[in-house]
Every structure is written in structure tokens, then in C-alpha cells.
């Protein structure tokens, strides 16, 4: 490279490194707080160096039934993912392959669901669940989560399938597949990365969401996200404990998005073009 271009490159990379470190400092603080002993956390002046200790994690397990919380989060997320994919993928495919003009209208309908603030439907939904006797169960959360995620998955698979040429499916059909057959044998395998991205986003949303679960679950069906909030209000819970709890409620998602970064990127830019 010419020397001027090289200098530009070094400057650019340095700037990016600095920016990234700045952005990650708060995350580092969270992680370090969870691994400090209580003395270190409340030391004055507060410092970054510490001896790693598991005290905070111990108190998390002492204060919370972590396994129950985990189980709830997992069940809610899994249920949401499965249902949203079952509903959303065929819908996205159908809208993308449809020749009717209403199809795009429906696609935008699903996109518009994002526009609605959660709270607007919360109480009517709460009452609906109460009347159905589903309050306090995982089902109530799964049902509402599925609605939002189906809209997202439909929109995402819609834009994904729309960009996918029909050639392969048409070849399959001339080779003897039915429409349904070509959907399963050709369209879905080709859409693998879009599906993975959908799964990632569904899990992220369900795991992180707390407003609806807070009102729809009871003690034994509470997921991690709600526990975090109720813990915050409690007197005995310290920053350290919260940090440790956050490791269960947040770090898995962070790691998932980091390793599946390619799919995260795809999902985030879905349909933007």
C-alpha cells in the first residue's frame, strides 16, 4: 500500500478500536462487578482491579431459584420460536410468491405491528388471558410473544424469499414436485440462513422481554428478565448480585449474537433494501 493510504488505514483502525473499547466499557463493568467480592464492589474509590470471586454468584443462587427462572425463560423462548416459525415462514413465503396485489399490503401490515407500543394492548390482553384462565402460565407469554414475533418473522422471510429467485422451485416443480413439495424441499433449505436469523431474533426478544411476562406470570413461571426487575427493588440485593443475575439473563444472548453475528446482521437489515 502507498504510505498515505497506509497512514489513513492505521488512523481509521485506531479510531475504530478506541470507539469499540469505549462502547464495551460499561459491559466490562457489568461483568467485573459480578466477579468481584462485595468488598471490592463497595470499595472507595471504586477501581477496576479486583480478585475474582464467586461470592456474587453464590448469593444469586441463594436469593433466587435460578434453575426455575432459567427453565421458564427457556420454555417461553422455545415455545415462541417454534410457533413463530410455524406461522411466519409459510406466511412470508406465501406473500413473497403471491401474484396478488394484496400481498404487499399484508406484508406492510405485519411490519406495522412493530409500530404499536406494547402497553396499548397489554390490559385487554391481560383480561383476555384472565378470562381464558391462562394467567400465570407460560402459555400467556408465549401467545403474546408469538404474535409479535410472527409479524417479525413473516416480514423477514417475506423480504428474504422475495429476493430469492424462483428458478430452483420452478425446476423442482417441472421435475415432479408439487407446490408444497417444492416449498419443503427447495425453498426452506435455501432459506436456511434467513431462518436461523429469525430464530436468533425470536430468542433474543423472548429472553429480554419483561413487561408482558411481569404481568402474566406467577412465582413459579417467572422468567429471568422479570426476576431481574423485582430483584432491583429488593433491599438486600446488591449490585453484585444483580450483575451475577444479569449473567444469566443477558450474557447468553450476547454470546449467541456474537457467534451468530452473520445472522444477526442479516436479521437487523432485513427488508431494509
Amino acid at each position: 500500500m502507498s504510505s498515505l493510504a497506509l497512514k489513513h488505514n492505521i488512523a481509521r483502525r485506531t479510531a475504530l478500536l478506541v470507539i469499540t473499547i469505549l462502547f464495551l466499557l460499561p459491559v466490562a463493568w457489568l461483568i467485573s462487578t459480578a466477579w468481584k467480592s462485595s468488598d471490592d464492589i463497595f470499595s472507595i474509590p471504586p477501581g477496576l482491579l479486583f480478585n475474582p470471586s464467586l461470592t456474587q454468584f453464590n448469593s444469586v443462587f441463594a436469593y433466587f431459584d435460578v434453575w426455575s427462572l432459567l427453565r421458564s425463560s427457556v420454555i417461553i423462548s422455545a415455545g415462541t420460536v417454534v410457533l413463530s416459525l410455524l406461522l411466519g415462514i409459510p406466511a412470508g413465503y406465501a406473500l413473497a410468491r403471491s401474484t396478488s396485489k394484496a400481498a404487499i399490503g399484508f406484508a406492510y401490515f405485519f411490519l406495522a405491528i412493530r409500530m404499536v407500543p406494547a402497553v396499548a394492548a397489554l390490559i385487554p390482553f391481560y383480561l383476555m388471558m384472565r378470562d381464558l384462565g391462562l394467567l400465570g402460565t407460560w402459555w400467556s407469554v408465549v401467545i403474546i410473544n408469538t404474535m409479535l414475533n410472527t409479524a417479525f418473522v413473516t416480514w423477514m422471510m417475506f423480504s428474504y424469499f422475495r429476493a430469492m429467485p424462483r428458478d430452483l422451485e420452478e425446476a423442482a416443480m417441472t421435475d415432479g414436485c408439487t407446490q408444497l413439495g417444492s416449498f419443503f424441499k427447495v425453498a426452506i433449505p435455501s432459506a436456511r440462513s434467513g431462518i436461523i436469523a429469525s430464530v436468533l431474533f425470536c430468542v433474543m426478544f423472548s429472553w429480554n422481554d419483561f413487561l408482558y411476562p411481569m404481568f402474566l406470570t406467577r412465582l413459579d413461571t417467572k422468567p429471568l428478565s422479570v426476576a431481574l426487575l423485582t430483584a432491583y427493588g429488593t433491599k438486600d440485593i446488591t449490585w453484585g448480585t444483580l450483575g451475577a443475575l444479569a449473567h444469566f439473563s443477558t450474557i447468553p444472548i450476547v454470546l449467541m449474537a456474537l457467534f451468530l453475528n452473520r445472522y444477526f446482521v442479516q436479521g437487523a437489515t432485513a427488508g431494509v433494501h
Binding site: R12, L16, I19, F23, L24, P26, V27, W29, L30, T33, P45, P46, L87, G88, P90, Y93, A94, S98, F106, F110, R114, M115, V116, P117, V119, A120, A121, L122, I123, P124, F125, M128, I143, M147, L148, T150, A151, Q179, L180, F183, W207, N208, F210, L211, S225, L228, L229, Y232, W239, L242, A246, T250, I253, V254, L258, V265, A268, T269, V272, H273
Partner: protein, 322 residues
């Protein structure tokens, strides 16, 4: 039978009796249409039942004075809930705060995001890795984000807050305790959380620009700034507006983070529309009033989205010939 009889018999069978003809003219293409229809129907019905119906109910309730704790005293009040909303100073402050939060926050995220996107434009491993790490804030539970910054800014033990207090910078009691700075803190937190995502969307836009046109600009002698303002930015406008739409809709509905960071305080300084709506609906059980607030928010969002969509269309047309 004679040969002619057999021939006539065969011809007749072929033209009139085949199953496809019996079904009318639908055949394969008709089946295809039904197939696609039924693939989409479950999702549409589900979303309508679980989503649109409660929303409609909520909209209905907004015209009533309906409190869950006193259900028997429900009565129709027409637009009173809406009028009261604008009459109430707390709600007005919340509306102002929400707009300020949204507009300033999204604007800052746009500029910073664009800068970062421009730096990440080349596709190499370093950039991909940086982007992956930069996106971490966007994946953290918003609730946890709130807690992180509350912890960091606390003047007693917070890493940032302690030193600020020590050096006498910022208000006593920390940045979050002062009405003048609290909203700004929330804006900064929102930028911290979402600027990388904005950068990602803008980066996708940059990468979709036609490379030969950019080379032509270089060959035509355009400087870096000229290329940016005369070629890149105009061609990027549709992406920019789309990113703005997504972020504006999300920023306006913000709840989790301010809920845990300031809870609306101090006083009403960081009250947002969603915070008030949730408080009214789930704390005081004023379902009617809360629904009205929700609907007002939807209206504001719809207006902003409509303006931005119009801008996207205009920019798109400008690029692809009027």
C-alpha cells in the same frame, strides 16, 4: 363398432370428459393460489386475534372511564380521556420529553452511526470483528442496560459517578438525580445502545451503492467531500430514511431503560409517554386513560412514520428517475 365410431368416441372423451376441464378453469394455477392463501392465513388470523383485537378493545376502552378496581363505575366519556391527557401537566411534559428524546437521540445516532459506517465500509476481517463487538450493546437486555448505567453513575459507588462527584463535576447527587441532566443521560444511554445498530443498517446501505458510479466520481475528479455530499449521501437517502423510521418508532416507544434508570424522575423530568401509560394502566388501573395515552402515542408514531415514508418514496424516485 366401425373404425369411425371408435375414433369419434375417443375424441369425444378427450375434449369433454377430462378432470381438469370438469373443475372449470382453475386447475394448477387455481390450486397454487389457494395453496399460497392457506399458507398465509394462519399467521394473519393469529395476529389479528391476538394483536389487533386487543388493540381494538383498548381503543374502545379509551372512550370510557374504566378503572379495573371499580369496574362497575365504567361509563362512556367520549374524548374526555384524550382532553385530560393534554390538560395534565405531567402528561404534557411526558409528550415533550418523548419527542425530545426521540428527535435528539435519533439525530445523534444517525450522525455517529454514519461516521462509524463510513469507517467500516471496507470488507475485511478487522472490520467484521469490530462490528460484531460493537453490536454487543444492542443485544443486552434493555433492562440490564438501565441497571448498568444506574450503577455506573451512582455517586456513591458508581465508577463514573463517584469520580464526577469527587471532582465536583455535574450536579450533586449524580447526573441521574438532577432534572436538567437526567434526560440527557437517558439520551446518551439510548445512543450507546443503538448507535451501532444504526451503523449496521447504514453500512448495509453503503455496501449496496453501485461501485462503478463511485469510481466514476473519482475519475471525474471529485474530492472525498464532494463524493460524499454529491454522490454517496443522495444515493444513500432511502437507506437513511428507512433507518430513521425504524429507530424513530422504537425510540418513541422506549420503556424498559428509563423505567429502571430513573422511573420518570426526578420529578417529571424523564417522564415518557410509555412510562405514564404503564403507570396509569398497571399501577392505578386506569384502563381508559392508559388506553387513550397509548392511542395518542400510536397516532404520533404513525404521523412520523408517514412523513418519513413519504421522504423515502421521494428520495427513491429522485434516484430512479421521476
Amino acid at each position: 363398432m366401425t373404425e369411425t365410431d371408435i375414433a369419434a368416441h375417443t375424441v369425444g372423451r378427450r375434449s369433454a370428459g377430462s378432470p381438469a376441464a370438469a373443475r372449470g378453469d382453475r386447475g394448477f394455477f387455481g390450486r397454487q393460489r389457494y395453496f399460497l392463501f392457506f399458507m398465509a392465513v394462519p399467521a394473519v388470523i393469529y395476529v389479528i386475534i391476538v394483536g389487533v383485537w386487543p388493540l381494538a378493545q383498548g381503543a374502545w376502552y379509551s372512550f370510557f372511564d374504566y378503572n379495573l378496581q371499580k369496574p362497575k363505575r365504567t361509563h362512556f366519556v367520549g374524548l374526555d380521556n384524550y382532553v385530560n391527557a393534554f390538560a395534565d401537566s405531567t402528561t404534557r411534559q411526558a409528550i415533550v420529553n418523548t419527542f425530545e428524546f426521540t428527535i435528539v437521540g435519533v439525530a445523534v445516532q444517525l450522525v455517529l452511526g454514519l461516521l462509524i459506517a463510513l469507517m467500516l465500509w471496507r470488507d475485511d476481517r478487522f472490520n467484521r470483528t469490530i462490528l460484531a463487538f460493537l453490536l454487543i450493546p444492542a443485544t443486552i437486555t434493555p433492562l440490564v442496560v438501565g441497571l448498568i448505567f444506574k450503577g455506573l453513575l451512582g455517586p456513591d459507588y458508581g465508577f463514573i459517578g463517584y469520580y464526577l462527584a469527587e471532582w465536583g463535576l455535574g450536579p450533586k447527587g449524580g447526573l441521574l438525580a438532577d432534572g436538567g441532566t437526567a434526560l440527557w443521560v437517558l439520551i446518551v444511554v439510548d445512543c450507546w445502545e443503538w448507535t451501532p445498530l444504526m451503523a449496521l443498517i447504514l453500512l448495509a446501505g453503503l455496501k449496496s451503492l453501485p461501485t462503478d458510479v463511485l469510481e466514476a466520481a473519482r475519475a471525474d475528479g471529485a474530492t472525498v467531500l464532494q463524493r460524499f455530499f454529491w454522490v454517496i449521501l443522495p444515493l444513500m437517502l432511502p437507506s437513511v430514511f428507512l433507518a430513521l423510521i425504524l429507530r424513530t418508532m422504537d425510540a418513541f416507544r422506549v420503556f424498559d431503560t428509563p423505567f429502571v434508570t430513573t422511573g420518570g424522575g426526578p420529578g417529571d423530568a424523564t417522564q415518557t409517554m410509555m412510562l405514564i401509560a404503564v403507570k396509569q394502566g398497571l399501577q392505578f388501573f386506569n384502563v381508559g386513560y392508559a388506553s387513550a395515552l397509548g392511542n395518542i402515542a400510536i397516532l404520533f408514531i404513525a404521523i412520523m412514520a408517514a412523513i418519513l415514508i413519504f421522504a423515502v418514496r421521494r428520495a427513491d424516485a429522485r434516484i430512479n428517475g421521476k
